[in-house]
């Protein structure tokens, strides 16, 4: 018989609590560690070059004498491909989600959902391969050189479409269940219930879907590296080659030294700051934020 009257919980439970508590603290620390480490690595550049020069230098020539570190062309390219992809994938994803809840015969909806789920898991390097080998030559025949902002936008739109569809479908299906009967009882038309009731009710989830897709797009590296042409210049048209912040890091980290290397970490810092700002924005707007 165990000893009643003992005042502390059994050793096993205390150990369990201690060990899992330690794990939880460690898991929570990972993100802080990453932030601090990237900041620490970027610090030499921030200090020696100064934050201002990352937007005012004549260009991105990290190996020139004197070196120049303007990240603005890459930032513009990143934002441009992201916005372009969202403009395409946003409405397309939303309507596909509406199709799945409201219009599709059940079998077709299931098929579509299966396909979209599979595509959500397809690695970005495969999208990049397809873009590089199939899409870019097509674009090149029309508007050379092919590898361009537009190629980036198209590939990225396709890549984030699954996220957009799945997240907005979850949002709409979530409210449809509770409102559908009421709406039908009130004699609403299909479109009337959709635009008048369901979409407004799913607002929080839809806004979360949009912002989740945006962060995915902004952070995408491989596909952008493979289809945008990687020229570190301010893009002046949709058909001009460009280089995103993410591709810039992937291209140069292998050989970057000293201040150049630190400058790449500044790019990573900027990227993280943008994503965190979006997450903040999502919370601020009251979006239902879910990492699917």
């Amino acid at each position: 018989m165990s000893t009643p009257g003992r005042s502390s919980p059994p050793d096993g439970d205390a150990a369990l609590r201690a060990v899992t508590g330690l794990a939880a603290r460690l898991s929570g620390t990972v993100v802080v560690g990453i932030a601090l480490f990237v900041l620490w690595q970027a610090w030499p550049a921030l200090q020696a070059v100064g934050p201002l020069r990352f937007v005012t230098d004549a260009g991105w020539h990290p190996l020139a004498q004197p070196a120049q570190f303007n990240l603005l062309p890459m930032l513009v390219a990143s934002v441009a491909v992201t916005l372009g992809a969202m403009l395409l994938a946003g409405p397309l994803g939303l309507f596909t989600a509406i199709f799945m809840t409201d219009y599709a015969p059940p079998a077709l909806a299931r098929l579509l959902r299966g396909v979209v789920e599979l595509l959500a898991g397809v690695p970005s390097v495969v999208y990049g391969l397809w873009g590089l080998v199939t899409l870019v030559p097509l674009l090149a025949a029309w508007q050379p050189p092919g590898a361009s902002l537009l190629a980036g936008i198209l590939v990225l739109a396709l890549m984030i479409l699954p996220t957009m569809v799945l997240a907005s479908h979850a949002a709409i299906a979530g409210v449809a269940a509770e409102h559908r009967l009421t709406v039908a009882a009130l004699g609403f038309s299909c479109a009337g219930s959709l635009w008048g009731v369901l979409l407004p009710a799913a607002r929080a989830g839809l806004c979360g879907a949009l912002l989740l897709s945006t962060t995915r797009a902004l952070g995408e590296t491989m596909a952008m590296l493979m289809v945008t042409g990687n020229v570190a210049r301010m893009p002046d048209s949709l058909f001009a080659p460009a280089r995103t912040l993410t591709a810039n890091i992937a291209l140069e980290l292998a050989y970057a030294m000293d201040r150049h290397r630190a400058a790449l970490f500044v790019g990573g810092l900027l990227l993280t700051a943008l994503v965190l700002a979006l997450v903040r924005l999502a919370r601020g707007l009251g979006c239902a934020w879910r990492h699917a």
């Binding site: 018989m1 009643p4 009257g5 003992r6 005042s7 919980p9």
Partner: protein
Amino acid sequence: MSIHSLPTTTCAEPVPQTALQALDLTVRYRGRAALRGVNLTVADGSVTALIGPSGCGKTSFLNCINRMTDLIAGCEVSGTLSLFGEDVLTDGSNLLALRRRVGMIFQRANPFPLSIRRNLDLPLREYGIRSASERAGRLEQALRDVGLWREVIDRLDDPALALSGGQRQRLCIARAIALEPQVLLMDEPCSGLDPHATAAIEDLIHGWHGRYTVLIVTHNLAQARRVSDHTAVFWLQDGAGTLVEHGPTGALFAAPRHPVTADYVAGRAG
């Protein structure tokens, strides 16, 4: 204090010992009182029925006794509650030992999703009984006590969830009494059962007089009259549940002192 020595010493005394004493017991959920100022003394070996309308704190009261309240986020218990003279609510007291002395039966039978045998074996093993033969003996005794032994003897290793509703509830009772508790808390144990299964459980409770101290929450007044020797009436006052009357069951039903009790037992309120 040893768990086993208690019942034998108390049986010899002419006046029943106090099993449970609540003084000014109050339960709050996130600052809102659900149960306020309960004073109740329960004699050892008695069966007490807790009656009253829904939401007047009966279950909250039960949950204090084995500190299930600890599982509810934002739940605060104040006042004092003692079990055979030992304070229950102090932070330092041994929760697991307390819950082994106080068994609980829930409204919805909740056998573990394991075999019938493991349902009893697992807590017994936790209880520190190393010997397999002793565990087997206790298992058989507990299942016999609840009248389940004959029904399950040839399928002890089948999943417990395959049993019928009444059998499940009796299995849960067996699981509780296998630990040889002093007190049994029953929270509407028969509300989901048919009359036949209900009768089987009421028979069990009859057999427990003097052996376990039983507190049973029920909405069935006839059941309260049948099984209990004391009845406590809970009622909602000023937004929180409280104890309005308490006494021997026969006297309480025959001549209720409190007007709400009179209305309630006559079926005019609640």
